[in-house]
């Protein structure tokens, strides 16, 4: 590891004294440790300070000099924004002068005669360290692009306000650019940076008239902690106008999320809420402002509770796996072909929690793999149990989430499941959404190839909801294509939708894979799909997802049909 000491910049010291002997003596003391330059009067010193302002570590300044004395130099440097950060140590033998110089902003003093070399060296070193430390802090405190606080400093100051200024009720505001990465990609990073600078200017202009602090967290994420505003839309519009005026590119659209102050809510939480609110207007072309409200608060509390309760839910078997049958409709009568395992949560206090509530939540925080592992195990166990009970192996498909793709132990985990329950690999079908394919195409294709190599069958779920190109489809290794239920919903009423179903079926034929139509609820839908050539049907028409004990009569009935057929 490189130590910070090794990253020291070269240190340049300016010695200012009208007497050559004094300059030389001081230079002799310091020359082994620093680069030295000299000035023989105040005027020359000022010129050199300006010339070397980016390189100077410290100035050692005699106070009594002809032409321009050291006090005047101090005064000029301290009143110059570009120079005032350069530390100055005054050289003097007079106590009164020391005090005056320190009052004028000198960092320290060295007394004449220069007979205490160690003290002189120590003082110079200490002042340079302090100054460099301060410069580092200043650099870390502000985002160079916008001049706003950096994230760490922003939260430090926001927390101070929260702890020590309890009378200040301040709202959290998050401001983003819609599709900022596209703005950068299309117009170049420099342009993107200019837009960020304009937003920073707009925020600073706002804070000039309103109490608050602001930060650019990273990328296009801005945060403002400010006194409550009556009209946040007006604030958003003002900043948007600045961006529009300064940019020749139309369509740079800002969005804003606001979390109003709430008793006892710390800044980090408040900004999480503002960020969540801001996220809700992402891609919304009508509204660009969202205020975090009670409904969002209730949802947040519910989400937090579900996150906290998941481990217990697994241990206490509150999670239930339901099964929905898939029927082969190209036979008469239709034959039970397989089932899909679907999770349900029977929460002891909240009752039945919809998977539509907890699955997106766990997908977003990575806990979905806990749910998936539970479902995989339950499904494998159930396949084995039914095989034992009815003498048939009913294949069951389970979901493979995006996070599972990155699990290096995925293959071993699935392999051990089929081994443990003595299953054929084809009995446990794996459903992968089309969007997961397209997001990580290369990685996904490699994984799927490996899984298929082991004997697992892969179903592409929700086909038609993603953005697969025809070219990609031909290279995607799949065994079954599951048509998104949106296609099926309106096929009776909409000829266009029905024609789209035909297109999907054509694609499946091209890929030489069977198609499962999900969400089939009526006989009319069933007949249309059957006639169009759809192989497998899943939906309420045959059965809603049911617990294993309610599914068993379907297996019994299937065995009956089989017996009748053989007879």
């Amino acid at each position: 590891m490189i130590k910070s000491k090794q990253l020291k910049k070269p240190q340049l010291v300016l010695i200012v004294d009208d007497q050559e002997i004094n300059r030389d003596v001081l230079g002799m003391i310091l020359e082994d440790y620093y680069d030295i330059i000299y000035a023989s009067n105040g005027r020359e010193a000022l010129q050199m300070i300006e010339e070397y302002r980016d390189k100077l570590s410290v100035v050692l300044l005699d106070l009594i000099m002809p032409e321009m004395d050291g006090f005047k130099v101090l005064d000029c440097v301290r009143n110059d924004e570009l120079l005032k950060s350069i530390p100055i140590i005054v050289l003097t033998a007079e106590r009164n002068a020391e005090l005056r110089a320190l009052e004028m902003g000198a960092a320290d003093f060295i007394t004449k005669p220069f007979d205490m070399h160690e003290i002189i060296l120590a003082r110079v070193e200490r002042i340079i360290e302090l100054s460099e430390g301060r410069q580092l802090i200043q650099a870390a405190e502000h985002d160079p692009l916008t001049g706003l606080y950096t994230r760490n400093f922003f939260f430090e100051y926001a927390n101070r306000i929260y702890r020590y200024q309890q009378g200040w009720h301040m709202d959290a505001v998050v401001l983003n650019i819609d599709h900022f990465h596209s703005v950068n990609a299309l117009n170049g990073r420099e342009f993107g940076d200019r837009v960020l600078g304009i937003i920073g200017d707009g925020i600073r202009a706002f804070l000039a008239d309103s109490n608050g602090i602001a930060s650019r967290f990273e990328g296009d994420r801005f945060a403002i902690l400010c006194e409550p505003q009556t009209d946040y839309q007006a604030l958003l519009d003002k900043i948007q106008t600045r961006v529009n005026e300064a940019s020749h590119i139309a369509g740079i659209r800002l969005r804003m999320g606001v979390a109003p102050w709430r008793e006892g809510v710390d800044p980090v939480t408040l900004f999480d809420r503002a960020r969540a609110a801001c996220g809700m207007v992402r891609g919304n072309y009508k509204s660009h402002l969202m205020i975090y409200d009670e409904e969002m608060y209730r949802r947040e509390l519910l989400n937090q509770r579900l996150v906290n309760d998941l481990v217990r839910a697994v241990e206490e078997r509150e999670l239930k796996v339901f099964y929905q049958p898939k029927y082969n409709v190209q036979c008469d009568p239709p034959r039970l072909s397989s089932a899909e395992a679907l999770i349900r949560w029977n929460h002891p206090e909240l009752g039945l929690v919809s998977p539509g509530t907890f699955i997106p939540l766990f997908e977003s925080n990575g806990q979905i793999s806990t749910v998936d592992h539970y479902v995989w195990n339950e499904a494998a166990r159930q396949i084995a149990e039914w095989r034992e009970k009815f003498g048939v192996t009913l294949p069951v498909s389970v979901n493979l989430s995006r996070v599972d793709v990155f699990d290096p132990s995925l293959e071993e985990r699935l392999e051990s499941l089929v081994e443990r329950y003595g299953l054929d690999h084809k009995a446990l079908k794996l459903e992968v959404t089309e969007s997961a394919y397209t997001e990580n195409a290369e990685q996904m294709i490699e994984l799927i190839n490996r899984l298929r190599g082991r004997g697992f069958e892969i179903e592409m779920d929700d086909f038609g909801s993603g953005y697969s190109s025809l070219n990609m489809l031909s290279s995607m290794p799949i065994d079954v294509l599951k048509m998104d239920m949106k296609f099926v919903r309106n096929i009776v009423q909409s000829e266009k939708d029905f024609r789209l179903v035909g297109v999907v079926l054509d694609i499946a034929r091209y890929l030489k894979v069977p198609v499962v139509a999900e969400g089939v609820e009526t006989e009319e839908q069933l007949n249309m799909l059957k006639e169009a050539g759809c192989d497998l049907i899943q939906g309420y028409y045959f059965s809603r997802p049911v617990p294993p004990e309610e599914f068993e009569p379907l297996i019994v009935r299937e065995k009956q049909i089989e017996r009748e057929k053989q007879a």
């Binding site: 004094n22 009594i64 033998a93 005669p113």
Partner: protein, 123 residues
């Protein structure tokens, strides 16, 4: 003449010079520089006009240089004039008294320079 002998001759504090410059070689270098420095001339000029600011600045310069060289007698005499003319300090001496002290200081300074010349010639 050695550098120590020179210091004895001019009433300087050799030990103090060593504290500042550490090595005889450097003491030698800067003592020789004193001979060519303008501190004496500046002070003499200031004395001719009795300009308070110039008297203060030039006496202050001599004090600073001499104290670094361990020439305490000169430094102390220069300090008296410095304090007499420091802004804010009350005047304690008459102009004539200052002139007398100044003349004595310059005399001593010239003697010191003379001794340094002899030292240079002997080396």
């Amino acid at each position: 003449m050695t550098i120590q002998e020179l210091y004895t001759k001019i009433g300087g504090n050799y030990d103090q010079a060593v504290r500042v410059m550490k090595k005889d070689k450097l003491i030698d270098k800067y003592v020789r520089k004193l001979k060519n420095s303008n501190v004496g001339d500046m002070l003499a000029e200031a004395g001719e006009t009795m300009d308070a600011v110039k008297l203060f600045e030039s006496a202050h310069a001599m004090k600073g240089v001499c104290s670094n060289l361990g020439l305490e007698g000169l430094a102390n005499a220069a300090d008296e004039i410095t304090e007499e003319y420091r802004a804010g300090n009350p005047r304690t001496l008459s102009d004539d008294a200052v002139k007398e002290k100044l003349a004595a200081l310059l005399r001593r300074y010239r003697q010191t320079v003379q001794c340094i010349t002899e030292y240079e010639e002997s080396n």
